[in-house]
Structure formats: structure tokens, C-alpha cells
């Protein structure tokens, strides 16, 4: 939720025409790459609020501009976060229009600031989904409420409405086919990291209970404030309490979804039929029927692509360690399911090969919720880019070696790319990696200790590199073939010494915002690029 230009920084630089995304549809990637949100700080007070006194505004910014498309004009408005009756809402708009989006706390107690945008009144809610109702009025105002008809997104989207967030509406006039609706969709997508797939999956979950257009009555009554991290509490909030500041959308006024009647979503009773008193799914087969069908899955190119990548990756990851060893290993299936599930949950963030590393981390560390967002998608760029600070450190800690690299056209230090990108995962055995990562993630001497480790290893082999006059190719091959050869303890000791020697000067080599080896949320922000994640 943080605005401003801060997260861009160095992260912005790697974006260039040479970035190709072969794992996603290009239009999709392009949209993600070009959309961005600019926010400017302003301390001016809230003027045109129509909220009641019950609302606690906790954050507010004027003149926040969202650029829904690369070429489209920006939409300006005021961004506010406010608390009402224990629920957090995001409000965006001007005096002509506005939107309210409810946020759910996703983070655990360790990470209280991770929220998801939600519009589903059901324990099965999928995160990252906030959608737009057709609420464009004739006064050219718009309201981000309710849901998007997936049909507007293209041929692979289905019709049928996901559950809505009708109680957050503020406009009463609705009109289908409004030219502004695409804009509103895109705006909200930027707000909410809408995952088309998740949305669709959810809609399919809810759709099967058709036969009624009287959507909304139950859902409003059974609204639940769900904390994903604590499913047992999903029924703790009453619907009345959860109502947003202005709730003009009486059930009778529920909007058509782009001209179609919204189908009734699964009610809590219906949903609860699948659960035991503890909130666990008891009848998964029946539930599966309500989830994505094979035909539906087929329609989603991106889903298929991602699934293909994940399928390819899981069978070739750590298969030599006992946990994943052998054919038909159940754990491999579990790994696949975790990755696939996460890919659903954060569809916009994409999938790279690196997430398997993430999963390993998830198994290791408690506050794992950060990693997927860090590692997935464009955040990888930020991460990968941090290897480019190794040169500065080498220059500081071993000028002759740095000079050698300069003279031999090795200044790009690409040979360190793999080291940093997957934190030496390929260089050491699995057991060693557990040791190393524990060391790295303590952040004891530096949160960028892994960069010092690069320097330490390079220094350890400097005699050979310089002595054998390795050129770029030879050096790259040499470094690649160091895999399994590096003395870990000695490398860590060297790095420790180097880090101590470098002190402040070393820290100065690494710009603020460079992802640490273990991202710990310090200021409410994740190390993600602003243009992909609001």
C-alpha cells in the first residue's frame, strides 16, 4: 500500500526492450510492465468526504494518479485508507466518483501489514481479487464495487459473475455498455492485482448454484470477515458490522454485471456444508465439482502455460535429496500443488523457476508470506539485479581483481548471476544450503551478506583467475564448474571478515532498496516493483 516512488529506484532500471517474457502472453506481460501508478505526497486534509464520523482515516493522499493503460490518460483521485468497525478499506476517487475496496489482513502476527483485496463473502475467498461492478453512471462517475464480468477481458474469460462486494458501492445509477467501464476495470485491476484465473475459478465455484437472480440477500447477511491466516475465525464478523461507509446498494439495486444478471454466489450455508466445525473441507470431491473443470482449465492459456512450467520444474528440482527422491514421490506432488496453488493466488505475479527456492524457504522460515511476492514476477528482476552490486564490493575489497575483470571485459560479473539469483542453491549440497541460508538470513552482519559471500569466493580463487588469465568465457565456465567445489565454511568465514573490514564503506556500495538475502518487512513495503504492484 505504500505509494510514492520509493520502490522503483534501482528496480526500474532493468526494464528495457530486451526483457522478454516467454512464459506469459505478451499482451499480459506488456500490460503488467507498462501500467504503473504514480502517487504524490500531499498532506492536505480530506475535504469532500461523505464518510461518517465512525470512519478513522489512517492514511490519505491527494492527487494519486493511476494509469490504467500505457496510452490512456491517468485517472486522478484521492487515495485513502480508513478503518471502520475494525475493517480496513481502501478508498479511491474524487468528489465525482469513488471506490471502496475492503482489505483483509493476510499477514500473520509477524507480518501484520500484508493485506489482500477481497470481494468475496466466503471462506473460500481467493486473495488478490477485487473487481469492478458496472457502476458507471451517466455523470461519468464510476464506482469500484461488485464484480467484473470476465467476458470483457477476452475470449478465455467466462461469463458469469463472481461474488460481489455490493455493500461497498456508492453509486446507485448503473448502466451497461458504458464506455468508461473498461477503464474502471483496468483501474481496479491495478489496485487489486486481479487475477483473472482466480476470479474465474471463484466464479465457477459460485456459479453452480444458479437458478436465482435474487443474488445478494444472503450474501450480505452472511458476510464474513475472514483472516486467511486464521480460518477458524472466519465467522467472527457480522454482516452489519462489515458494511462499508455508504451502502446504497440495496439488494434491489444490485447492478447488472455488464448487462447480465449476476448469478447467485454460494451462500455460507452452502459453503459450510463442505466443512467440518473446524473449517476443514470434508467433502473435497463434491467441492471440486464446483471448482475449475477440465474444460474451463483448458480455456486458460496462461494457466496451461504456468502449469506446464511448474510441471516441468518440479520433476527436476532436488530430486536427489531423499525428500523428493524416486518416482511417484508424494512430496513432488505436494510441491507441485503448492506452486500451482500459489500461482492461482497471485496470478499476476507470474511464475519463474525461482519459486521452488521459495518453497524451500517456506519450509524453513515462519514469515514465508513475503517470499512468493518477492520472488515471483518482476520482483525477480529486482532480485536478480542485486548481483550488479558485487562489482562495487570487489572494487572496494580487492581492487587488483576488479582491475583484472575490467581489463578482461568481465565487468558485468555475469558469472555471479546464478549465485545471487538463487542464493548459491546450485553451488552447495542441500545440507550445506540449509546451513548457508540460515547464516544469510540472520542478517547478523549484513542483510546483504550473500553479496559479500560472492566477493569471498572470487577472492579465494583470484590466484587462479588471474594466474590463468581467464577471459570472460573461461571465467564463466570456471565459475559454473565450481559448483560442489567451494569450501562453505571457509567462504562464510572469509565473507564475515570481508564484511567487517568493509564496514560502512561496504554498506555504501549497496544502494538502499537492494533486496536483502532475506526480505524482512520493515516499512510496510515489499520489495516489488511499483509498476506491477500498487
Amino acid at each position: 500500500m505504500r505509494g510514492g516512488e520509493a520502490p522503483a529506484g534501482e528496480a526500474g532500471s532493468p526494464r528495457s526492450p530486451e526483457l522478454y517474457d516467454f512464459s506469459d502472453d505478451s499482451d499480459y506481460a506488456a500490460a503488467a510492465a507498462t501500467n504503473h501508478t504514480k502517487a504524490m505526497r500531499s498532506d492536505s486534509a480530506d475535504g469532500g468526504s461523505d464518510e461518517t464520523a465512525r470512519v478513522d482515516v489512517i492514511y490519505e493522499k491527494e492527487r494519486v494518479t493511476i494509469h490504467p493503460t500505457q496510452y490512456g490518460a491517468g485517472i486522478s483521485g484521492k487515495l485513502r485508507l480508513f478503518l471502520q468497525q475494525g475493517s480496513l478499506f481502501l478508498n479511491f476517487g474524487s468528489n465525482k466518483w469513488k471506490s471502496n475496496i475492503k482489505l483483509y489482513r493476510l499477514g500473520s502476527d509477524d507480518n501484520p501489514n500484508v493485506f489482500l483485496v477481497n470481494d468475496f463473502q466466503d471462506p473460500l475467498q481467493l486473495p488478490g481479487v477485487a473487481t469492478v461492478a458496472n457502476a458507471m453512471s451517466r455523470q461519468n462517475s464510476l464506482s469500484f464495487t461488485g464484480s467484473v464480468d470476465d467476458g470483457v477481458h477476452g475470449n478465455d474469460a467466462k461469463h458469469g459473475a463472481p461474488a460481489s462486494m455490493s455493500q461497498y458501492g456508492s453509486m446507485q445509477k448503473h448502466k451497461s455498455n458504458d464506455p468508461g467501464r473498461d477503464l474502471s476495470i483496468q483501474v481496479l485491476e491495478k489496485f487489486s492485482l486481479v487475477t483473472k484465473f482466480a476470479r474465474d475459478t471463484t466464479s465457477s465455484l459460485f456459479r453452480d448454484n444458479s437458478g436465482a437472480n435474487a443474488y445478494g440477500r444472503q450474501q450480505q447477511e452472511y458476510y464474513s470477515n475472514i483472516k486467511v491466516s486464521d480460518k477458524n475465525k472466519y465467522q467472527q464478523t457480522t454482516p452489519e458490522k462489515a458494511a462499508a461507509p455508504s451502502d446504497p446498494l440495496e439488494p434491489d439495486h444490485l447492478p447488472l454485471v455488464w448487462g447480465k444478471k449476476r448469478e447467485r454466489p454460494l451462500s455460507v450455508e452452502e459453503w459450510s456444508a463442505f466443512l467440518d466445525p473446524e473449517g476443514r473441507v470434508v467433502d473435497s470431491k463434491a467441492l471440486k465439482k464446483k471448482s475449475i473443470s477440465a474444460t474451463q482449465a483448458k480455456r486458460f492459456t496462461k494457466f496451461r502455460e504456468r502449469k506446464g512450467l511448474i510441471d516441468k520444474d518440479v520433476v527436476r528440482t532436488d530430486r536427489s535429496i531423499p525428500f523428493y527422491e524416486g518416482d511417484d514421490n508424494r512430496n513432488v506432488v505436494v510441491l507441485r500443488d503448492i506452486l500451482l496453488t500459489y500461482s492461482f493466488y497471485n496470478f499476476d505475479l507470474g511464475y519463474c523457476q525461482v519459486p521452488i527456492l521459495t518453497v524451500t524457504r517456506m519450509a524453513c522460515m515462519p514469515n514465508y508470506l513475503h517470499y512468493p511476492r518477492l520472488i515471483y514476477g518482476s520482483a525477480v528482476l529486482v532480485y536478480a539485479n542485486s548481483f550488479s552490486y558485487v562489482p562495487q564490493l570487489v572494487e572496494l575489497l580487492d581492487p587488483p581483481l576488479h582491475n583484472y575483470f575490467r581489463q578482461n571485459d568481465c565487468l558485468n560479473y555475469f558469472f555471479c548471476f546464478r549465485w545471487v539469483l538463487i542464493q548459491f542453491k546450485r553451488e552447495f549440497s542441500f545440507d550445506q544450503i540449509m546451513v548457508l541460508w540460515e547464516v544469510l538470513w540472520t542478517h547478523y552482519l549484513s542483510e546483504h551478506f550473500h553479496l559479500y559471500l560472492c566477493v569471498a569466493i572470487l577472492k579465494r580463487y583470484r590466484q587462479r583467475i588471474i594466474g590463468e588469465q581467464m577471459d570472460f568465457d573461461t571465467l564463466l565456465k570456471f565459475i559454473n564448474e565450481l559448483s560442489g567445489q567451494i569450501n562453505l565454511d571457509r567462504a562464510i568465514q572469509d565473507a564475515e571478515a570481508l564484511c567487517t573490514i568493509a564496514g560502512e564503506n561496504g554498506a555504501a556500495c549497496i544502494p538502499a532498496g537492494t533486496p536483502p538475502s532475506m526480505p524482512i518487512e520493515t516499512d510496510g513495503g515489499l520489495y516489488v516493483q511499483e509498476d506491477e504492484v500498487l
Binding site: P17, L19, F22, G308, L309, C352, Q353, N385, T474, K477
Partner: protein, 215 residues
Amino acid sequence: MAHRVDNEYDYLFKIVLIGDSGVGKSNILSRFTRNEFCLESKSTIGVEFATRTLQIEGKTIKAQIWDTAGQERYRAITSAYYRGAVGALLVYDITKKQTFENIQRWLRELRDHADSNIVIMMVGNKSDLNHLRSVPEEDGQALAEKEGLSFLETSALEALNVEKAFQTILSDIHQIISKKALAAQEAAGSGPPIQGTTINVTDASANTRRRCCSS
């Protein structure tokens, strides 16, 4: 040892392997350079390369084959990867239509980053999985013709055509180099006005085919 600079060759040709993730690039590389195949090889991170020296048309050619991650979003290494490459093996998986459909994307990538004279060969890998085939060989052939590329179906697993694919592309490159050298001679004015020398590629590969069995 592995990094010792070997100077005993006439030409050093850098060939890049490109194509979608999981099409078998790394196994094509290992089959060609080490005669190895691993069903569960790790996904490639960053760049790797291996070399093999072979005889083509009487010349000792050192082939330096570069392999990179097919799906990597962050292609920071792109420039270094394509720098100096004289050939590209563009690989798809005959059992995965999508990898074939992405050929165009890879061709665009080559146009954007590689030398314009780079010799490209299209390779449909995993021909051993014929029962799972989703790209007919004719389709591959047709696309290759349309794009002016040479084409082969290979199986890294069965060591089928891998050798031939590299020999073909290396021969093509050698031919171009020889022609250039010849043209340069002619340009220098010393050479007689002869027609371009025709080098029979099949003969050339036949000369070196015995390596196939020994490798």
C-alpha cells in the same frame, strides 16, 4: 583442467541453444558434448556452456555451445549470451505445440539481439516420444522452409540426429566463413575469377560421421 585454454583448433564457433523451457536444450548440449542424458536434469539458471572439438571439411572446429534458461524473465545475460554467436539451434518439443508456436518469438529475439548473419537451425526435439507428438514433422519442415532455416528432428534421449544437427549447422557456418575468406581473397585481387566453390554438405558430414559412433 576443464578451463584450460585449448588452442589447437582452426575455428572456434559459438553456438547458442534457445527455445522454451523444458524442450531439452541442456540435454542436447550434454548429449553432444559429453554423450550424456539425464531425464531429470535441473533447470538451467543463468548461462552454461560446453565445448567439443570436431573435424569438419578437414578443419578442426571447436564448437562452443551455450545453453541458457528458456523461461527466464530476467534476461540480463542476453547481451553476453548472444555476443559473438555465429549459430543458433532453435529448439522446440514435438510433444508440446506451444513450444513450436513460440518459435516466432525466439526468431524475433534472435533478430533483436544476435548478429544478423547468424546461422539458425530449427530442431524439433524428443522425437522418441512419437506417440505423444503434437507437432507433425511436416509442420516443422514447412516453417523452417518459410523462415529459411535448416531443420531436423532429434532425440537427445536416443542420441538421434543430435550429432547431425550440430554437424549441419557447423558445416553451414564453415561454408559461409570459407566463402567470406574466398571473397576477401578475390577482393584483394590476387585470386582468379572463379565461381563460388560448392561444398557438398552431405559429404562433409559423411566424413565425420564416424565420430557419431565413437562419441
